[in-house]
Structures are given as C-alpha cells and as structure tokens.
Symmetry: C2
Subunit: 358 residues, 2 copies
DNA sequence: CTTGTTAAAAGGTACGTTTCTGCATGGTGA
DNA sequence: TCACCATGCAGAAACGTACCTTTTAACAAG
C-alpha cells in the first residue's frame, strides 16, 4: 500500500482532508488557519470536508512545527514531604482559577507541575512559559528554565536574584503596617503576631514589617512561629501566643487557618473577641464572614495576581513586552469585620426574629 | 550551510549529541531511553555528552512519533457564568491535588481545561486521556473525546448513558441513609435537608435518598433548595429552613459552606447546637473542627477518589485494563463532632456504626 | 504577440524524535 | 571452513503539520 492511501486506522490527517476535498495539503492548512489567499468558496469547502471527516489537527505536529505549544506550566513551591501541600489553600485555589481563566481567554492552557527538578516530568511537556508561585531563592528549576530561554513569571517577589521574566506581588510591608495601624486605632496596646518558620518571601517581609512597626511605636514584639505547612502546629502556636505572660490584646495571624485557631484559643482562655482580644488574619476564605464573631481578614487579591501573572507571561511569550523584567504590585484589601472593632457593638444585619423566640 | 551543521541557534538536538559523542542518532536515542543493546560504556558516554550539551529531548517530537503525550486533561463541569466556579472548593482542591500527585507518580502531568466545548482549546493540546469531574448528562465534550478514542474517566457516576471508560464515586445513598440514622439515634425527630437546585448526580441521589428515608420512617420531608453555585443563596436558604413553621430539630446540608450558614442562622433564631438543633454537613474543610461548637461532617474522601480516577485512567491508557468499563465505589467517612451528639458531651470518638438502629 | 501582474493552488522541506531494518564483526559449534 | 548467532551500531523511514517556493492560469497592459 502506498503512503497516500495506506492508513485506514487512526484519525483523519490533513492529507486525508486534502484528498477528500480534491486540493493540496497547503490549501487545507491555509484554509483552516485563515492564511494564504484563497477564495471563500474553497475555504468553506475545505472546512466542510474537514468537519465531515471529523478532522482534528495534531497538536504535537503543530507544536513541533511552530515551536509553540500553547501550554503554560504552573508550579507551587511546597514545604514538607507531600508534593502539593499548599498551606494557603483558598489563596492557591483562587489564584490558580484566575490564572486558568486568563490563560484560556488567550488560548493557552495550564499544566500543573511539581516544584521538584524531576527532569523526566518537566522535559516531557513542551511549555511556552511557566508561572511559579513563591519560588525559593535560587530555585534550580527556575534557573534551568530561564537558561533554556523559557519565560518565567513568579507570583511573589523572587529572592536570590532569580532571573525571572517578571513578577507580581503585593506590597506586604505596606499591608502589614496599615493593618497594625488599624488595630492600634481600634485600641490595641500590644499587638502579637502569629508567623511562620519558613523563609519564603511572604513570611519574611511580613515579619520584618511587624518588627519595624513595633520599633517605631515602641512596643516589644510578641510573636510565635510555627511551620506553616503543619495545620496542627498552627493551633498549638496560637495557644502558646495567648498563654504568654505578656499576652497581647490583639493578634495578626499570617496564615489562613490562624483565624479559627486563634478564636478557639481565645475561647479556651475565656477571652472575648473583640472586647478582650482583637483579631485579624490573612485569608481568602469566606468562612470568616460567618464565624462568631466575624473575623477581619487581609485579602491578597489572588484573582488579580493570577490574572496579572498570566498576562505578563503571555505578553513575554508573544514578544509583546519590551524585554525588560516586569514588576507589578497588587494592592491588598483589608476586610474589616467585628473582630477588630472594639467600639461599635452594632451588628450589620438586624436579626430577623423567628417563631418561638428564646 | 548543510543540514548537519546549520543551526547554531536554539537548543541542542539529538543530532548534535550524536555528532559530539561520535555515534549515530539511533545510539543516542537508545542510550538515553534505556533501549537497544548497548554496552554500559557507550551508554554512560552518551549520557555524559548529552548532559554537557544541556540536551533536552523535544516533547513535541516525541509525542508526534510515539503518539503518547503524557498529558491528562482535568475538567470540572461548572454552573453559573464563570468558567471555573467550583462550589465544593475544598473538595475540588483536595481531589485535584491527589489526582496530580497520582499522575505525577506515574509520569503523567495534568492539564486544566474548561468544560465548554471550545474546540480550539481542546484540540490544541494532545491528551492521552481525560478526567471529568461531575459530567452533565450527555456531555458533548465527553462524547467527542470518547468518539476519538481518548479514554475518559469521571469523578461522579455519569448519567445519560455517557460512554466513559470508567468512573469513581461514593455511594451517596448509603452515606445519606447512614447519616440520617445517626441523627435519629442522637434524638432527632424531624430532620431537614439543605439541598441544591442543580440536577447533577450528587444532588439528585442525595435528595432522593433523603426522601426515601423520610418515607421509610414516616417523616414529612422538610427541605429547602438553592442554586449551589451562589454562596449568598446558601445563607438565605439556611435561614429559610430554620424559619419554617415546621422547623426541623436536625439539619443536613449537602454543600460545604452549609455548616457555617446553618450555625449563623441558628444563632439568629437563638437555637443552641446541639441542644436545640443537630447539625451535619458534607465538607472536606477542617474549619468545622474548630467552630463553636465543632460540626459533624461527611467526608467524601476526595483524595482517594482523585487517586483512583487517575489510576483507572492511566491503566486504560497503557492497556492494563480488561477493556470493560471500571466502576469503583469509595466509602464515605462520617466525622462525628459535637454538633450531632445530643447526649454525650464527651468528644471525638466516633460511635462504631452498627447496622441495627431503631 | 509579448510581458507583467495577480490569484489560486501545488510541491517539497524541515521540525526532532523513535524505531524498524540492516550491516558489520567476532566468537562458537559442527 | 562454513554456517549461525549475538552483539554493537548506523541508515532511513515515518509521525502530521506549517510555510517557503514554485507553478499554472488568466488576464490586462504595452
């Protein structure tokens, strides 16, 4: 059997479409991709034949030929042993969702990849670019990607002079300072911090901002650290913080679960929130709107970050950037709820009295 | 310039490695892939040269040649307008995480794709198989994938005779029945249900199981429905349920946020939990361990489901299955906490469920 | 009649692998 | 010596597409 008629197995290729339509391969390619100079009659005829045969172009062949795969890597640096322990779950989920949407809107898809440098995984997929969440200083994966000319944009300001194409981050210092001012305005005299032992940029910047603030207002720092990837350790650390002799009258928790942890610890010690203890934590979770009392949260706007990261990355891939690294700062959002408002006892919604009242 | 020396731009290819190592292309390929019959000396020599040149095989070329891309699609059927509104956030995140890990462990990576039938996205990526979460009856994307011979495994029993390669799901009927028995054992006389208006399998099976149970024990059904993708609607429906004249003394909420919604509603009506109202909701979130009081949850074991789905899919791709569709049922896990225990104030240990009851 | 111009379509090569087939070589048993 | 086989390696054909180059036809202008 000759090469033109040979394969009856498998899907229809561009050759089969060309033969069935009575035109050349080039014409089919041009017709389907909207290129070349073809009369509309030919174009629609080819399209119809392709449809009839159920033709789908081979992504692999196209990628091989054009050098563009339409795939973006998405990597989360992890702590601990499990491959994908995101401590900031809601944050990651929101960010990834926004990134996926933004990529899709521009014709790209996201591939989830491990942060480890397992070559056999990374090299088995053709990437046009990569999004890295919270890269470690001198991350080997990032370094190698950049060395191979693959654009890399990071969520979180990269440390260690990582040669990324660009990055997006919040102004963590400003956020923490503003938040502490807010607590002080609400009457806090000694503000405590629940922070992490890891060395990632977020933890580091937030903690130093706290220390600076303490220095400025002349307060002794009161903080507890714990490995952020261990949820139980968070509860323990929250307890430790409230058990100290120099117990704070307000606490900021850097991580998502800290709000409930601190609330539980406060209950154990008979502390009323917000009367005896003001509470704020950094979280994207909506549960803090309906805890008792609702807890003030700092939102890092993961959706805006995810969108921005992908836009920068795709711009770089498509050569729409100016070549310089792009740095973008996304403002944070302090969502003030009862837990950080000492004075106003007014609740926002008037409780509808039900039948059989208390 | 000839084809052998021509390209100094771009990365090193297998040809360059062959030339530098003084062997043929075949030998390089065999050496790196562990195939063929080569002495260890040659093998290691080739590997060393490849390393020195920073050689990375082209995934696109390999995929084109072998027909295997090592990529699995991951799709979530969505409700509402946004492309990725997962109502069960924690569930999806956990499931996706487990699926990603399992895939990675077997050398595959996951690509996140939209459930819409945008051809230009789906056909731009070469997939070896696809995981579909909660497919709609007669889902066109699934149908087309199967028609093209791509294995599809679904999380959630597919309705509408969808010709999937296999599926994994919980036994939702049994879970709901057991849960209702548990509430009845704790003293509930009238159990209410907070359910969804959507027609997905989970909602449908759970609701009918509830109705069956009511019929069996001779209780009038007491339930409220709301569009599960709207978080505010959940709070409203919870309120409505507790405002009814035939107010239930126990409620099961089908969706993740229902626990906090119901707790807030109970507070508004001055109902004590668990004394006046028993509460259970289906959730994977750990926040319910530290609410006041802690809330009993039904876990669907998303990690086990994600792992199982991927194993079945990869088995099918690699031809390790027997060809028949595979159906796997994952047991659920009722995590009993204070909110569903009227008598014993003692915590934590879940009562061993005997089949007896009554 | 020649030449230039343009539309329409065909030819053919390259993208970078994997892998089938085949060619030497040297050792072994008959 | 010869046939035979295992070993170690090379040649070359695909895989399916995109795109650069060329051909053909038609037609207007010189």
């Amino acid at each position: 059997m000759s090469r033109s008629t040979g394969r009856r197995l498998g899907r229809a290729g561009i050759r089969d479409v060309a033969a069935a339509a009575g035109v050349s391969i080039t014409t089919v390619s041009d017709a389907l991709n909207g290129k070349g100079r073809l009369p509309d009659a030919t174009r629609s005829h080819v399209r119809e034949v392709a449809d009839r045969l159920g033709y789908r172009p081979s992504a692999a062949a196209r990628t091989l030929r054009t050098g563009k795969s339409g795939l973006l890597g998405l990597t989360v640096t992890t702590y601990g042993d499990e491959p994908f322990t995101f401590t900031e779950f809601a944050y990651f989920a929101e960010m990834a969702r926004a990134a996926t949407s933004a990529a899709l809107a521009r014709g790209y898809a996201l591939v989830i990849l491990p942060a480890t440098s397992r070559h056999d995984v990374w090299s088995n997929v053709a990437l046009d670019g990569t999004v890295v969440i919270d890269p470690a200083d001198g991350d080997p994966v990032v370094t190698e990607l950049v060395r191979h000319g693959i654009p890399v944009v990071s969520d979180g300001r990269p440390g260690g002079a990582l040669p990324v194409t660009g990055w997006v981050d919040n102004d963590h210092e400003a956020a923490v300072l503003g938040l502490l001012d807010h607590l002080a305005d609400a009457g806090a005299r000694r503000i405590g911090l629940l922070t992490g032992t890891t060395t990632d940029t977020y933890t580091r910047l937030s903690t130093t901002a706290y220390l600076h603030w303490c220095e400025r207002v002349g307060q002794d720092p009161v903080y507890e650290s714990y490995p952020a990837h261990d949820p139980c350790a968070g509860a323990v650390a929250a307890d430790r913080l409230l058990a100290r002799p120099d117990r704070p009258d307000a606490v900021y928790g850097l991580f998502d679960p800290n709000g409930t942890d601190l609330l539980a610890a406060a209950r154990r010690y008979g502390l009323r929130v917000p009367e005896d203890l003001l509470l704020v934590c950094c979280s994207e979770s909506t549960v803090y709107a309906s805890t008792e009392p609702p807890i003030t949260t700092l939102s890092l706007k993961p959706r805006r970050i995810g969108t921005a990261v992908v836009q920068i990355l795709i711009d770089a891939i498509e050569g729409l950037d100016n070549g310089l690294p792009i740095e973008q700062v996304i403002p944070t959002d302090l969502i003030v709820r009862t837990s950080s408002q000492r004075r106003s006892a007014r609740t926002t919604v008037s409780p509808p009295r039900g039948p059989a009242g208390a």
